[in-house]
Amino acid sequence: MKQLFNKILVANRSEIAVRVMNACRTLGVPCVAVYSDADRGSKHRFFADEAVHIGASPPRESYLDIEKIINAAKETGCDAIHPGYGFLAENPILVQRCIEEKITFIGPSPEAIRLLGNKVASRVKMADAGIPLIPGMKDSSVDVELYKKTAEEAGYPVIIKAAAGGGGKGMRVVKAADELEDALEAARREAKNAFNDDTVYLEKYIVNPRHIEFQVIADTHGNTIHVFERECSIQRRHQKIIEETPSMALDDDLRARMGADAVKVARAADYTNAGTVEFLLDETGKYYFLEMNTRIQVEHPITEMVTGVDLVVEQIRIAAGLELSEQVRNLTQRGHAIECRIYAEDGENNFMPSTGIILHYSEPVGPDVRVDSGIAAGMEVTIDYDPILAKLIVHAPTRELAVRKMIDALNAYKILGVKTSKKFMIDVMSHPEFMAGRTYTDFIEKHMNDRKLNLKVYQNIAVAAASVAAQAVPSSGAFSREGDTAITPSPWQTIGSWQIGDSINE
């Protein structure tokens, strides 16, 4: 087979960079990493065939600096760039620069990114195409009164969103008229910080909705298909933490209708490559177009697990001008897949960000368990970047078995030194409402608020483990072990005094 590209530059970091490099390996295309100061010791740097240092730790000085990315590609002879998700993935200027430099951007056209990246413009387009939309403002505005008027018409609750937004940033739900102004201000501030663009808009807030999205792929030969849905309703602060497919809320008829509309959205935007069409589904089975994300998504592996398709490989093939293969065009959903996102956050303390040096790291293995990660023991988790550390993905014949398998995988995923929400996610999946498939976007707010962790149960095992560790495990420091003053007691002579401390809020 002819090599699809000479060399691919992966303009991202951590788990998604490693994921993309895996696809390059599969296709036999060498890949180049870029890394910032903070990522000198990172996994993605060493996973690539080559690596280029592109600047200081702040994203604007490295991963968001388009010219540095372009230069790194030119220096190393790359003829394609894969942007991953986040950073420059949905930045039309990068795509434009690629075109100028005759480098293939592995993703959609700049026109499609511009259209779909602007929620207001894309709503107009999709309304014309006959896609159902949530009632709300037709356009953004700086006039507070217009927001108030629209909110009254649509009826409270309403939601304010950043036009350039994504990932929950710049979003605010407003339950009553007297909260509107404060929320507008906060949303604009967050949007400005996150996207350097404080344009926001307002629409009706759907109560008890599910977040259902459809994976779409389209080649440059006119073939546009959907690769089924993902249910991403389990969110905390509008941030997805658990995703699954198939969705419990869809029957074959609804799946077919939503899938057909997803394809219609992609066609209306002249879309090529992989993208995701997001819908809100209400309790009555009515669905509304939210937005189309013009990138590979964090949760793409669950689609890969049930369909057997390698979506990143398909992205690269499409970018090289190949047609969708027959195999990809005739897909079925097999079994059930779940993804849990491992964030550096304290699941026992309001999801506060957690930083530190990773003292121990080990991942679950076995059939139908997949771990996409960008970390290793000894690495420091800092505040510089997105707090996602890894994704656990499992596949099983049924949803119930997949949940069981995921709980097992979470318990076998061990990371010490930073906190995560592992136990929180286990408690979500063990909740009777989750088991029943009643996953709505307010699930965590509604069902997990009173959650308490009874540490007493684990106390004696922890004490036993610490006792063993005192004897058997040397103390850990990054890669260096200088200055180690571990206590290694001799038999019969040590009575240590320890105190158990925990991180529970009560």
Partner: protein, 172 residues
Amino acid sequence: MSSYEFLIEGYDTVTSAVEKKGETFFVTIDNKVVEFYPSGDNLFNAFINGKRRLVAVARSQNGTTYVDIDSVLIELKEPSDDAFGSGAGDAGGEKDKVFAPMPGKIVKLLVAVGDEVTEKQQLVIVEAMKMENPVLCRANGKVKAINFADGDQVDTDSPIIELELAKQEQSD
């Protein structure tokens, strides 16, 4: 055999005895024996009442031991002069002081000096890692002092807000 004593916050003192036979550790606590089989660096299969649990345990250079059991993370600190026996710790004590969870920027102070505050109330919003993180009140009380203003950079060592705790909280 080695023996260790642990002072559990809010509970009693727990004594453990560890015996190693071959590669296996037998730990006796409260007359019950837990077996630990090494299963890789920092990893042990712990058999407790016949049930297997994969336990990870690591010690940092500053003497803290971290344990993961069934995805629950527990930290055990070696005693230091001021901390041991005083109920100190990350979250255990100092409910009257409100710290940033990590270095970041104060986006908005939500209370003023003199305000009555209640547990779980949002006190201040700190931006870190590109997210706005509300910092919650951990006890009922009254705002005594505010040491920073909107837009200030904060670290984790200096309290942003100091509280006067309500009476029933102080004996917690």
